[in-house]
Amino acid sequence: MSDNIENTRNINDKKILTTPIFPEDIASLHIGDIIYLTGMLVTCRDDGHRRVIESDCMPNFNLSGMSILHAGPIIKATPSGFEMISIGPTTSRRMEMYEAEFIKRTGVKLIIGKGGMGAKTATACKQYKALHCVFPGGCAVSAATEVEEIVGVEWEDFGMPEAFWIMKVKEFGPLIVSIDTHGDNLFERNKAEFNIKKEEALKELLPFVHYSHN
């Protein structure tokens, strides 16, 4: 059983989540909230999802209550270990076809990426009490400075971007909640609004682009 106060702290108005994450730690969070993460964070993207789901193979790291980052970092191997050079989030939507099953099988509680995810992931977040958050895309050096240590690597055969890098992070963020445990989906909601505005913008614009010989 987790201790809510211990795991979701507010320091100087910063809401910091620590791993392992328990359902009650994230139950009161809603889309649009900004949080930070302290603890363990592992990278997992296309190939990692494929291996977990298609090959039914788990990395040698228990993901239950943990957080994953959709990211392919730049890592420098040094005599004393690995150095994190640059690590921003990658497009989460690529993982949509496997994420719901991934959440179910691994028990992961926090998924960090960029851009939104779809209805299947939102349903899984509601059912299994997990969150999808976005880290500001492209801000990869800032993110690297929030990685305290690379503690290990799994599945290095995938190559640098796809390997499963196990990191210790401190106040990693800002993380904007994009799907919450109630199944609300910030990007899908925004997209519905964008589509309405798109039709309005086209209505205004199209009469001015009728180029013809007549």
Binding site: I85, I87, G88, T91, P136, G138, V141, E200, V209
Partner: protein
């Protein structure tokens, strides 16, 4: 941030191929670490127009990251792309024969020295080559021009902003209205995830190929420039206003604007077809431009305000 003007430099100790390799490695380094001047200025202007708390926070993250990347001399985004070179080669440039090899060597050097991410997966084997070299990678587009020098643009496009790219051949009766709809649909459906505010390149031509290559060339044109054809320039301006009115905002999280620019490039087209291509660049559109003279003196023209 130090503002060092690029100096015209010339190394005399190395072979021409080694010199060109070094020059291109420098170009790759500055392109990975810092934004070109026009993109930086465009983001500054866009930041000033946004007033929501979330938009302000996101722009502050963006500029903080740019600052850290320059200070630590690291790639500002981890996704340094599969390198693409656009070469305008003067017919009398004396080292044309060795340029292709120098580009590969520079790619390999920069991969380990900057470092760049290992981003080349050999097709069908589906194995990462680990050095950013593979079949037809880096990708080179060649154009022959008059003169004895080189003009090279290098473009580092991450996967995120590459995903929305597409082209389609419309029937001419769909008209330019069809072109505009195709671009708007693509931006709203896919551009939201591609790290807005976006740089939007639109290509118009006969077929899927000409339209898509022209849309890529449109991305290479500076923000703030217009197509010389007044009709195309008007369409660029109106499309930008229209996309901004959708309010996609920084990183797709809503705001007053959506795009840094809409650039259109076109070719004349077949009477029975109207090809349209769209290519988008993310907020961190990283392109580097260099002019190399026949004596191998050079100037990086894209990053005049940045450390070289």
């Amino acid at each position: 941030m130090a503002h060092v003007k690029n100096e015209i430099t010339k190394s005399k100790l190395k072979t021409p191929k080694e010199q060109i390799t070094d020059i291109l490695s420098d170009l790759l380094k500055v392109t990975a670490i810092a934004l070109p001047d026009d993109v930086f200025e465009s983001l500054k202007k866009m930041q000033a127009c946004e007033d929501s708390e979330l938009s302000k926070e996101l722009y502050s993250c963006i500029f903080d990251n740019l600052d850290k990347a320059e200070k630590l001399k690291r790639p500002l985004c981890q996704d340094t792309g599969v390198l693409q070179f656009f070469i305008k080669a003067g017919v009398r440039f004396p080292y044309l024969a060795l340029l292709g090899d120098a580009i590969k060597d520079a790619t390999q050097n920069a991969t380990s020295s900057v470092p760049l991410r290992h981003n080349v997966v050999e097709s069908f084997d589906e194995r990462n080559t680990g050095n950013n070299i593979g079949t037809l990678a880096p990708w080179c587009e060649w154009e022959i021009i008059d003169g004895d020098g080189l003009e090279i643009d290098v473009y580092l496009a991450g996967g995120g902003c590459t995903l929305p790219g597409r082209s389609k051949v419309l029937m001419p009766l769909e008209g330019y209205e069809g072109v505009v709809k195709f671009v708007f649909d693509t931006i709203v459906e896919w551009g939201v995830n591609a790290c807005p505010p976006l740089v939007v390149g639109v290509g118009i031509g006969t077929c899927a190929t000409t339209a898509s290559i022209l849309s890529k060339k449109a991305i290479l044109r500076k923000i703030g420039s217009s197509n010389p054809n007044p009709k195309a320039a008007d369409m660029e301006r109106r499309m930008k206003i229209g996309l901004d009115n959708i309010g996609i905002g920084p990183l797709g999280l809503k705001g007053k604007q959506s795009v840094q620019c809409v650039n259109i490039e076109y070719a004349a087209h077949h009477p029975a077809t109207l090809g349209v291509g769209v290519t988008v660049g993310c907020w961190a559109t990283r392109r580097g431009s260099i002019n190399i003279k026949n004596d191998l003196s050079y100037e990086i023209t894209s990053h005049k305000n940045k450390i070289n």
